[in-house]
């Protein structure tokens, strides 16, 4: 009869004692599952939501940090200098980061809103409120007509973009612009299928765009060569794309939306093309402004070069897996210059997941408290039980049974009972955890909603914002406590740990015993 057999017989034949101990483990198990289940469900909800989020990271200027730096300055010249020399993204660093193994593709972007000249934009359906051509009356009573920008230009320095890589946009005719066109600053563009249809455009056709409202160009500009022709550029359509993206006509801000906000009015071209146009125009504009407003001329500012116009406003990197985003940021953070950052939109995610974090925190606290109490209780119970079993231990020692085997027997006895208690607790505990978790989240959500009632928020749909919009409802909808193999493994590991620690003190007591002491005291 080995120690396993003895342990089994002790548990089954001292039934009442075993049941009482199993009930103790059952109660402990329920609380632990409550804690572990809630915590795990919260973490799972965050993970699932994170997986649904677009895996993008932006390399951008950390304006907050830069303003914090400016706030530390006291000398006015230094402050002016700081405002005149905003930090810029570093092209080399951007390209180095984009070579990371986790980067699928990237948008090294400069964007601009421009004016269509020989074609019209795709109507949004809110034109009663927003006309492409608007008017105002000047001080002489003349009605002046002016044009609003209606096309959004997106650029890149590689012949791909995140939208096309992800499949949000698909080329239905023609092709994407190629590297040769990028390197040669070619005037090539991709337009949307709807824009092509509205204007009866095909691949190979040309469109003209201006970077300024041409109605504002007068003789003063023309004297400096800033003519309507100079500001207008012709582009060849090399590709037509279909987009799954659209502006939401039911959104609160739809009636105020401008045509360029519609993805159907986005035009894609090489960054070098837009950069060279902006550079050429900036030279003449600078001459114009220096002449018209000489007092504003600042000779200390370095002359512009085309390179200044090839620096992206934003670099958006598409990562292969949402779960690799944090690792990617950590891996590349040390490459960055001061006042720049890699933004994974964690602040937003952290903000919406705060109730889950709070829930998870308290759930973990419960696990710790219950765990410590369980160890204390089971240790005491085992130690007290040991007193009643001194005679048995003495006899076993006198028969030559090793102390290790005696401890092992006690361990197995506790383990059998713990397994029974925890197994029963898995069912009831997960029900309790689900119910408690839901109630706490509902409470937290209602609290936050009542706090939010005090504010009116206006949200602008920024087309250069590649981060997924995830709401708290999306996150909470993923929260569900379920009995899964990981939870079951965790509860059993917890039980094993409690039993192991709880047996330590009684084991020390046993190790200190000699058979003579025990048998003399019991005889």
């Amino acid at each position: 009869m080995n120690f396993l057999n003895r342990a089994y017989k002790n548990v089954t034949r001292r039934f009442t004692k075993s049941i009482l101990l199993a009930v103790t483990f059952f109660l402990i198990g329920n609380l632990v599952i409550l804690g572990l289940g809630v915590s795990q469900a919260a973490e799972n909800a965050k993970l699932l939501t994170r997986q649904k989020m677009r895996a993008v990271v932006t390399y951008e200027i950390d304006y907050q940090e830069y303003y914090n730096y400016i706030n530390t300055l006291t000398d006015q010249d230094e402050i002016n200098d700081a405002y005149n020399n905003y930090p810029r993204l570093n092209k080399d660093i951007a390209l180095e980061i984009s070579k990371d193994e986790d980067v699928k593709t990237f948008n090294y972007m400069t964007t601009n809103v421009v004016y269509s000249q020989n074609f019209t934009n795709v109507p949004l359906g809110n034109e009663e409120m927003n006309n492409m051509y608007n008017t105002y009356t000047d001080e002489l009573g003349n009605v002046i007509e002016y044009q609003s920008p209606n096309i959004y230009i997106f650029t890149n320095i590689i012949p791909n973009m995140i939208e096309f890589e992800e499949g949000t946009n698909q080329i239905v005719e023609g092709r994407f612009y190629n590297q040769q066109e990028i390197d040669s600053y070619a005037n090539v563009v991709l337009v949307s299928k709807e824009l092509a249809e509205v204007n009866n455009l095909r691949v190979g056709d040309s469109i003209t765009l201006s970077t300024q409202d041409l109605s504002s160009i007068d003789s003063n500009y023309e004297n400096f060569g800033i003519t309507k022709e100079f500001l207008t550029n012709e582009f060849e359509i090399v590709g037509i794309y279909n987009t799954n993206n659209d502006i939401d006509p039911n959104s609160q801000n739809f009636k105020y939306a401008q045509p360029y906000e519609s993805p159907k009015n986005y035009i894609y071209m090489p960054l070098t093309t837009l950069g060279s146009i902006q550079y050429e125009q900036s030279i003449k504009m600078e001459e114009y402004y220096n002449s018209m407003y000489p007092s504003y001329g600042d000779t200390s500012v370095e002359p512009q070069t085309i390179d200044n116009y090839l620096i992206p406003h934003t670099v958006v990197l598409l990562i292969d897996d949402p779960l690799n985003v944090d690792d990617f940021v950590a891996r590349n953070a040390n490459r960055l210059e001061q006042y720049t950052r890699l933004n994974a939109n964690n602040e937003t995610f952290k903000s919406i997941s705060k109730p889950l974090d709070t829930l998870s925190f308290f759930a973990n606290v419960i696990v710790w408290i219950v765990g410590i109490n369980a160890i204390v209780i089971i240790t005491l119970v085992t130690a007290l039980t040991l007193k009643t079993r001194e005679s048995e231990i003495g006899v076993l020692l006198s028969l030559g049974v090793s102390k290790v085997k005696i401890v092992a027997q006690l361990f197995v006895e506790l383990l059998i009972v713990a397994l029974l208690g925890f197994t029963l607790a898995i069912g009831s505990g997960s029900l309790i955890a689900g119910s408690v978790g839901d109630k706490v989240l509902q409470f937290q959500q209602s609290q936050e909603e009542s706090d939010d009632d005090d504010y009116f928020s206006y949200s602008y749909n920024d087309p250069t914002d590649y981060f997924s919009e995830v709401s708290q409802e999306d996150l909470f909808s993923e929260y569900r406590v379920s009995v899964n193999p990981i939870l079951i493994a965790e509860i059993y590991i917890f039980g094993l740990g409690v039993v192991f620690i709880a047996i330590l003190i009684p084991s020390v007591m046993i190790m200190r015993l000699s058979p003579k002491q025990i048998l003399l005291s019991t005889n």
Binding site: M1, N2, R6, K9, N10, R13, R14, S391, E392, G394, V395, L396, L397, S398, L399, G400, V401, S402, S514, P515, K516, L519, L520, T522, N523
Partner: protein, 225 residues
């Protein structure tokens, strides 16, 4: 007849309240194989301490004990208890959540001594030998009378096929009729199976039936009959 257990200048004592208390004082004796010994003496004479030491439950302060010529220090008390001796206690000390049979099997499982393969059959045989029939052998210990429990304890002491059986007041909790039955069992073990039995007792009746009587007083062996 050869010496099975040789005691050489065994001393044992402890410090109590700053004073040294000597329990056993340079005690020497040779126990012969196949004999039934009783150790007698007044309370506090050191009988139980001597039994604990020679049974390997405790260790002497000085002196040597040899089992079949081998020093117990070298043999190891744990191994000695497992393979060389069995012990019977006054209060039986059986494991109460096990049956009589299972109590025997515990001892059989631990020993390194060679035993027949069918432990169960052997255990039933041992129990039968001490007067516990099969129906009672499968009962839990607390369902047996005191006398029956002591018989089970004796059967357990023999279960490992050991040469030495120690008993500490084995009849202290038994009536005189049962006491006699138990002593006869010990006699039978020496005569029929060649076991060496060493019993600590206060009982004159028990001691009269032994082959040798050792009288202890103040930790010294004062007389041998």
């Amino acid at each position: 007849m050869s010496t099975i257990l040789k005691l050489e200048n065994i001393s044992y004592g402890y410090i109590d309240g700053g004073f040294k208390r000597d329990i056993l004082k340079e005690l020497s004796y040779d126990f012969q194989e196949g004999k039934f010994y009783t150790i007698l003496g007044p309370s506090g004479s050191g009988k139980t301490t001597l039994l604990s030491i020679i049974a390997g439950l405790d260790k002497q302060n000085s002196g040597k004990i040899y089992y079949k010529g081998e020093d117990l220090d070298k043999l190891g008390l744990h191994k000695y208890r497992r393979n060389a001796m069995g012990i019977v206690f006054q209060s039986f000390n059986l494991i109460n959540y096990l049956t009589a049979l299972e109590n025997i099997l515990v001892a059989m499982n631990e020993t390194d001594n060679e035993l027949p393969k069918n432990h169960k059959e052997l255990a039933y045989g041992l129990l039968n030998m001490v007067g516990i029939v099969e129906s009672k052998a499968d009962r839990q210990i607390n369902k047996l009378s005191g006398g029956e429990q002591q018989r089970v304890a004796i059967a357990r002491s023999m279960a490992s096929n050991v040469d030495l059986i120690f008993a500490d007041e084995p009849t202290g909790n038994l009536d005189s009729k049962t006491e006699l039955e138990v002593v006869k069992l010990f006699q039978n073990l020496t005569e029929k199976y060649g076991k060496t039995i060493i019993v600590v007792t206060h009982s004159e009746e028990v001691s009269k039936l032994s082959d040798s009587r050792l009288f202890l007083k103040d930790g010294k062996l004062i007389d041998i009959e």
